[in-house]
């Protein structure tokens, strides 16, 4: 999990000076020792100068570090990847023709090999290994004089048989990799500690590879794994399906970690299995979104190891953050066995505009090398491939060293003896260990095996477990199975080593006598990490026994990954255990828990009967029963579903499930009715008795009455819907059920309910219901409602969206609004909802805009006009005014977020200013459909019922399509109900900026163009709360209550309504934007903190004036917030702000790290 840490020496910035210091990034660098610049930044330096020395001066590092130019143009042009070979030479892939070769142009991309023969940190010798490549995007030397290269559809192996330093053979290893997008084509090549070659492909890449072992197909991102000798090619990981993942390392335990540019993240990888031949990404791939570790755009990933870097830097992760032009640093830690990263102060911050760090590697000398793509333009699809601003000529590699620490002598591996090489496996530098193993793997196998065996038996100390792991990997590299060493390490003291050995066990399973027994022990390990490795390893073993072993983990604590992988194990191994189970040959040794879990996991309808038999035989533990019954509801026949219905109806004390479990099961039955058309065969009328229940169960019963068309309850539904004492949720459920019952009676009742003098909220719900069943009838009533002034707290949004959901709905509404002009408030809300729905409904937009004299900017948008606006933005635009426009006038945050704060149907804009050029921003604001970011093309889906949904495709399973709409909701649409779907371009509405003046548009563009650049609009990494809930309806009595006494009950009252608000870029919630209570001076704001490792954490407010605070519903004295003892889990913070008392116009709350504490916490998004 993302770990935030305050940077102590700059804490002044938020304590007392507020935004002042944040505003002046450069100033801060001078004041704070942590930020002091290593090089003097001469103000006169031109941030666009192509002089490497000027660029160097504009790269700012922490004290104690030096940066120097290792190589630059003309040696390098557009370098994209670098890697050191076993001789310590640096290989650099240069692709001046990227992103697209022009027909008739020669292919001139090349690999340069650079050497620093003098040891002065500067390449003084170079040669071209191979040239004539065509937009190759990945490369790694093979450590035998050659290199593997990914070039478009080809995986190539270039060899140098004569040792001339130049390639003399080009071999196609495989063809058929996809080429749809050259920034996704094969990339990020590296050798694993297991001696296997790993490389990535990204989203949109459609690969079909013919290998000697069969077809390998992959559409979308994956990590490929190639055994270069046997040509076994496997999909190592599919979880990067929709990622651009350009960074990958294996840590000291072989744990794969990736850094992605999109979605921006650092994360761990849970490898897939070759037995998974299913390409259905939705169900068979763990979503890396289970955790989000670090949200910058990363390219390149390295792990610091070795004597040259200080001890506190060891195992830190380094990434190139090319958008924000930083080289970032993260600490790695394990919370409850789970990897997490914590962002530290960056290693490099650039004030030069072309610095683009995209690869980072430790060198043989222990220094860190940074590959600099050196380009203003990095994006692929926002700027023409042949835009003259693309730089094709430059490229730099920087070397970063620590002052006052000696470099590591470059190991001479190629000429070393086998025993010398083996001893290098104990070196502190991971680079050296990996390369020594690679050289050993290429030596005479017999000699290596003999020497390795002696070397291993010479290691007796328990402290030396890690060299033994290196030895195990070497055995794996040379494909020699060594059961005794494996056995020793499966029981190592260090859980990381046990986990690594368990992984090797998975690879060797077919050459070990009894892998299942070994796996069972590992699945019972005390460490979750080891147990997870065992579950993953079991997925490689095609047997029922392997699943039985994996399911030992069910007896131990679990987490989201474990739950996913256990289920996946049951699915992947289904061909091996399920037929045996059906034939009566295998039943998990009679272990009902394992059997029931496995049967539920595979979601086979024919397993439902077996599950029910186990249930009635009393073999299922009580706490597992609701889960099992939910599976029956989802998969079972009407007769089988009767058991679920009985459980819902059962009220017998001591036997019945909790009310919330019963509500959940009832909803599962209703869901099955809606998606599959099944309902229990028994008498379903009995659910009506539950309607009076005041909580979730009552709501579920009302929904069920509708879904099952229990006409006898119509009168009761009508009563609930018009009863003014019904809660909004009950009223809405009742109206929904009446809509299900349909018919003239429903229309008549809703029409009455929709008119004055019924309460406004009830009218809104009634109109929404009418729109769903009789859109024509509903339209004039809606127009009537919209024409009225908005009462306090009234929200007509649901009535609008109900029309948007119906085919033809917007036009009917537009017609009705012609005779009834909407009130200004209703028109605003309607327009916003229309934008949010992403609908193109010109007639309705016009009807809502009646009286608005906006200019139609798009029509007059010529290149000259565009230039004028760009000019205006860059000269006159005020980013602070622009931020206000972004936050309020035109609803940008409905869809876009900045550092996660805001909507999530459109790209996060935290670093847009460093990637997008102003002309792009202007164009995109005015003509949104001109270019749409990956993954943000909206779909319009029409169901068989005539309902229409608009949103971004989130994911797709075999049965459901999941969309995310502009109001942040996920919409799950059963595929069987879809009539048609089509792409409708971007959700960003055209004409959005029409209501802005040119000056306002210029301010907005200027604001966007500053985002992510060093300065006040860089979100930075200070852990400040950005997601808030704001109480919108404060009851009148609120202000008169004593909050200390009453606040707790009030704030936890479920009937209150909250709305989301977000902090601005500086991390503050402007109090002018929050809802104020009827007393006129109080506001309530809530945020959530997620503690991953319990302990002492602190909070820091910009000012505590007028603030009262509750923690998890208990009053919290402000004096105590600097050091709170928080247990692991999610905590709620409620702020009551008395505006009459408070001077500061904003609220800002930051998480503090408490000295000596091992606690880890982060802010959690609110729903």
């Amino acid at each position: 999990m993302m770990q935030f840490r305050r940077c102590r020496h700059s804490s002044l910035s938020s304590h007392s000076f507020g935004r002042l210091l944040v505003l002046a990034f450069a100033l801060l660098s001078f004041l704070s020792p942590r930020h002091a610049v290593a090089q003097t930044t001469a103000p006169a330096d031109d941030p666009n100068s192509d002089d490497p020395e000027v660029e160097r001066r504009l790269l700012q590092l922490p004290p104690g570090f030096d940066i120097q130019l290792f190589a630059s143009e003309p040696l390098l042009q557009r370098p994209v990847s670098m890697s050191f070979d076993a001789q310590g030479r640096m290989w650099v892939l240069c692709i001046p023709r990227y992103p697209q070769i022009l027909p008739g142009q020669d292919a001139i991309d090349y690999i340069a090999v650079l050497e620093d023969t003098q040891g002065k940190g500067r390449a003084d010798k170079s040669h071209i290994f191979v040239s004539g490549l065509r937009v190759a995007t990945g490369m790694v030397p093979d450590d035998a004089g050659g290199a593997y290269v990914g070039e478009g559809d080809l995986l190539l192996h270039f060899k140098d048989h004569t040792g001339s330093g130049k390639s003399d053979e080009r071999q196609i290893v495989f063809s058929g990799f996809g080429t749809a997008d050259t920034h996704h084509t094969l990339n990020t090549f590296s050798w694993g500690p297991d001696g296997l070659l790993y490389f990535n492909q990204g989203w949109y890449i459609n690969s079909s590879i013919e290998t000697p072992r069969g077809m390998r197909r992959r559409f979308g991102g994956c990590i490929w794994q190639l055994h270069p000798d046997s040509l076994a090619l496997e999909i190592y990981d599919r979880s990067i399906a929709v990622n651009n993942t350009w960074g990958r390392i294996f840590d000291a335990y072989g744990q794969p970690i990736i850094a992605s540019a999109w979605p921006a993240d650092i994360n761990l990888v849970l490898p897939d299995t070759p037995l998974n031949r299913d390409d259905d990404s939705a169900t068979m791939v763990p979503s890396l979104k289970m955790t989000k570790l670090a949200g910058e755009r990363h390219s390149g990933l390295e792990i610091i190891s070795g004597r040259h870097f200080p001890p506190d830097w060891q195992n830190n992760l380094i990434t190139g953050s090319f958008n924000s032009r930083k080289v970032q640093r993260f600490a790695v830690q394990y919370d409850a066995d789970r990897l997490s990263v914590k962002e530290l102060d960056p290693l490099i911050v650039s004030h030069h505009n072309k610095f683009r760090p995209i690869d980072v590697k430790m060198g043989p000398d222990g220094a860190l090398y940074v590959l600099d793509w050196y380009n203003i333009i990095i994006q692929h699809n926002q700027v023409n491939f042949r835009d003259p601003r693309r730089d094709h000529e430059h490229g730099r590699i920087w070397r970063i060293t620590c002052k006052d620490r000696p470099l590591v002598p470059v190991p001479q591996l190629v000429d070393a003896t086998i025993p010398q090489l083996l001893d290098h496996l104990k070196d502190p530098e991971q680079w050296t260990r990996l390369k020594a193993a690679r050289v050993l793997a290429q030596r005479d196998r017999k000699e290596v095996v003999a020497a390795l065996s002696r070397w291993v038996s010479g290691i007796v100390s328990e402290q030396d477990e890690h060299p033994l792991l290196e030895a195990l990997w070497l055995y794996q590299s040379i494909d020699v199975v060594e059961p005794s060493l494996l056995g020793r390490l499966l029981h190592a003291r260090d859980p990381g080593i046990r986990a690594a050995a368990t992984t090797v066990l998975g690879y060797w399973h077919d050459r070990l006598p009894d892998p299942a027994t070994l796996l069972a022990t590992q699945a019972d390990d005390q460490s979750l990490r080891v147990r997870l490795s065992a579950v993953l390893a079991a997925q490689r073993v095609p047997s029922s026994a392997a699943l039985e072993s994996a399911l030992h983990a069910l007896e131990h604590p679990s987490d989201a990954y474990m739950a996913f992988e256990l289920q996946k194990a049951a699915e992947v191994l289904k061909p091996y255990w399920y037929p045996q189970f059906q034939a009566g040959q295998f039943a998990f040794g009679g272990n009902a828990r394992r059997l029931s879990f496995a049967l539920q996991s595979i979601k086979a309808p024919d397993a439902v009967g077996q599950l029910l038999a186990m249930l009635s035989a009393g073999k299922i533990a009580r706490e597992s029963q609701p889960e099992l019954l939910a599976a029956v509801a989802a998969l079972g026949t009407p007769q089988e579903q009767d058991a679920v219905l009985e459980a819902v109806l059962d009220t017998e004390t001591g036997k019945a499930f909790s009310s919330s479990d019963r509500a959940r099961l009832l909803d599962a039955l209703v869901q099955s009715t809606r998606s599959r058309g099944t309902q229990p065969s028994a008498d379903v009328k009995r659910v009506s008795a539950l309607m009076s229940d005041s909580d979730e169960l009552g709501l579920a019963a009302i929904r069920a009455v509708g879904a099952w068309k229990l006409e006898a309850e119509r009168a009761e539904l009508e009563r609930i819907s018009s009863d003014e004492s019904s809660t909004p949720a009950r009223r809405q459920a009742a109206i929904g059920a009446l809509v299900d019952l349909a018919g003239p009676a429903t229309v008549k009742h809703l029409a009455t309910l929709a008119q004055a003098p019924k309460p406004y909220a009830a009218r809104v719900d009634a109109i929404a219901g009418l729109a769903a069943i009789d859109t024509k009838h509903g339209a004039p009533l809606a127009a009537e409602l919209f024409s009225e002034p908005l009462p306090a707290g009234g929200d007509p949004s649901p009535a609008f969206t109900a029309f948007f959901r119906r085919t033809g709905g917007p036009d009917l509404l537009a017609a009705a609004l012609k005779s009834k002009k909407p009130s200004p408030d209703a028109a605003k809300i309607g327009t916003r909802q229309l934008y949010a729905a992403g609908l193109s409904a010109p007639a309705l937009a016009e009807a809502l805009r009646a009286g608005n004299e906006a200019t139609d900017r798009q029509k007059q948008f010529s290149p000259a006009e565009q230039q004028r606006l760009v000019q205006l933005a860059m000269t006159q635009g005020d980013p602070h005014r622009g931020e206000k426009i972004f936050r309020s006038s035109i609803g940008c945050m409905q869809c876009h977020s900045i550092a996660g704060a805001g909507g999530n149907v459109a790209p996060d804009l935290a670093t847009i200013g460093t990637t997008a050029q102003p002309d792009f921003l202007v164009e995109h604001l005015v003509i949104p459909n001109k270019s749409i970011k990956d993954g943000y093309i909206a779909l319009e889906v029409v169901t068989n019922d005539g309902d229409s949904y608009t949103g971004i495709r989130q994911r797709e399973t075999a049965t459901d399509l999941v969309l995310r709409d502009a109001t942040h909701d996920e919409i799950i649409i059963p595929k069987s109900t879809i009539k048609r779907q089509r792409s409708i371009g971007t959700l960003m509405p055209t004409g959005l900026t029409d209501s802005l003046t040119d000056n306002e548009l210029a301010d907005l563009v200027r604001f966007l163009s500053e985002l992510g650049k060093p300065g006040p609009f860089d979100v930075g990494h200070v852990p400040v709360a950005r997601h808030w809930l704001n109480l919108t309806t404060l009851p009148p009595e609120f202000s008169s209550l004593d909050p200390d006494a009453q606040g707790r009950t009030l704030i936890s009252d479920a009937h209150l309504t909250w709305t989301r608000v977000f902090s601005d870029v500086a991390g503050e919630v402007p109090l002018s934007e929050v809802a104020i209570g009827s007393g006129g001076h109080s506001a309530v704001l809530r945020c959530l903190a997620n503690v991953t490792a319990g302990g002492k954490c602190g909070l820091l407010l910009n000012s505590d004036q007028g603030v009262r605070l509750w923690l998890d519903g208990h009053p919290l004295p402000l004096a105590a917030i600097g050091s709170l003892d928080l247990a692991a889990g999610t905590h709620t913070l409620d702020f009551l702000i008395d505006l009459s008392e408070r001077k500061s116009p904003a609220l800002r709350c930051e998480l503090l790290e408490v000295s000596g504490s091992t606690a880890h916490a982060q802010w959690a998004p609110v729903r």
């Binding site: 992103p99 697209q100 070769i101 022009l102 027909p103 008739g104 937009v135 478009g152 559809d153 071999q171 196609i172 290893v173 495989f174 063809s175 058929g176 080429t179 749809a180 997008d181 050259t182 084509t185 949109y204 459609n206 690969s207 079909s208 590879i209 013919e210 290998t211 000697p212 072992r213 069969g214 077809m215 197909r217 559409f219 055994h227 000798d229 046997s230 040509l231 390409d279 699809n381 023409n384 491939f385 042949r386 494909d479 270019s931 749409i932």
Partner: protein
């Protein structure tokens, strides 16, 4: 297309091909002929070495062959590799659309390798899919030529033993053969030829990874396609007397250049270019050699005689050898063939990039759409050059006494 207006010639049935002396299965109409190669990675990778096309091109110097390779790695009779998602009807639609757009006169169909991984169980599905594909292709042209998949090769451990897989490929080969017979289409069995070639020469590597052919493999496959299509080996024979009189000429035109001059001086024009030279180690294996043109010279004075073609020494042999016939394997015709083959490879590479461009995701089309016209121009230039290079030109043969050895 109104086929009645075309000078179509008959494609003969496969059954007749096996018989010696059967006429060729492949004949062309006058003028341009569009030949499409459709298939999986085996077809796709054939385009770069150019062996298959070069051998066809040389047979029809008076026609223009415009070859388009639509092979795609990992493809199958359902077009699975061609669009994202693998189970999408759009992929087959793309295959149909792109093949139709080329307006083909002849289609070589090369599937079965990827499908064969499904083993015997997948066979009925494959046969159905193959027939469905042919039903579509038959609307485009009746002249379909079915190719078997190549055999897989065991390259030793740790690469896999291919015995079992080859059993599957053999079954799929038999299935394709049966389809060809049912539909009366010509069929080329490459599988058994390659198996046999490997058995006879265990050290000769035919694939680069056990499954995709290398230059050796493609060279043999190209030779075999020519042979099984009934394009019999050229038997070029030229018999002249030592004073330059042409006694007989088969597959070649020859005439004395200057009869008044003493010695042998001939203007020689071959009917077809020679077959492309075999690559690397195969070149040394006589069993794979195409028959060389033979020149026989009678009545030479004893001693060694050098034949110079266009002034460049090509072969030296004794008068005795010349009298019984000497094979001519190097010379400007062979060089022209090699130039043609290389050009075919280059042209295919261009076409490949035009047809399957990098960055062909729909959102990039505004940026790369303009490239297509540029590619088309370049391809057209190459096509014209290929047509030119396909035609043999005349050369001057001079036979002279070799300088005596020191």
């Amino acid at each position: 297309m109104n086929r009645k207006n075309l000078t179509l010639l008959v494609i003969l049935l496969l059954s007749s091909l096996a018989r010696a002396g059967a006429p060729p299965a492949i004949e062309l109409k006058d003028g341009d002929n569009r030949i499409v190669f459709l298939g999986d990675g085996f077809v796709e990778q054939a385009q770069f070495s150019g062996y298959v096309e070069a051998r066809l091109e040389r047979r029809f110097p008076d026609r223009r062959l415009i070859c388009s390779n639509l092979g795609w790695s990992g493809d199958d009779v359902w077009g699975s590799a061609r669009t994202a998602g693998y189970q999408n009807p759009a992929q087959f639609e793309r295959l149909k659309k792109e093949t139709t757009a080329l307006n083909p006169d002849i289609i070589f169909v090369g599937y079965g390798l990827d499908e064969s991984f499904a083993g015997a169980a997948g066979l009925p599905h494959f046969v159905q899919g193959y027939n469905d594909l042919l039903a579509v292709l038959e609307h485009l042209t009746p002249r379909l030529i079915l190719l078997s998949p190549p055999c897989a090769e065991d390259l030793g451990r740790p690469l896999p033993d291919q015995v079992e897989h080859n059993r599957d490929v053999e079954q799929y080969t038999a299935a394709i053969k049966a389809i060809a017979e049912q539909r009366h289409l010509p069929f080329v069995d490459l599988f058994h030829r390659l198996v046999e070639a490997k058995r006879a020469n265990p050290n000769l590597q035919l694939t680069h990874n056990g499954i995709l052919l290398n230059d050796n493999g493609y060279w043999i496959a190209a030779q075999e396609i020519e042979k099984q299509l009934g394009l019999r080996p050229d038997l070029v024979q030229l018999k002249v007397s030592s004073d330059g009189k042409v006694l007989s000429a088969d597959g070649v035109k020859a005439a004395p250049v200057d009869p008044a001059q003493p010695g042998l001086r001939l203007e020689v024009t071959r009917g077809n270019l020679p077959a492309p030279a075999a690559p690397g180690p195969i070149a040394k294996l006589a069993a794979f050699a195409d028959p060389a043109p033979v020149m026989q010279v009678t009545g030479l004075a004893p001693g060694d005689w050098v034949l110079a073609i266009d002034g460049k020494p090509a072969v030296t042999a004794s008068a005795e050898q010349w009298n019984s016939g000497v094979g001519i394997t190097t010379g400007p015709d062979e060089e022209q063939m090699e130039k043609l083959r290389v050009l075919i490879g280059q042209r295919n590479d261009l076409y490949y990039r035009r047809w399957r461009p990098f960055n062909d995701h729909s959102r990039h089309w505004t940026y790369i759409g303009g490239d297509f016209a540029l590619y088309d121009n370049e391809v057209a230039v190459d096509d014209a050059q290929i047509a030119e290079l396909t035609r043999p030109v005349s050369h001057t043969y001079v036979l002279a006494k070799a300088a005596s050895k020191p």
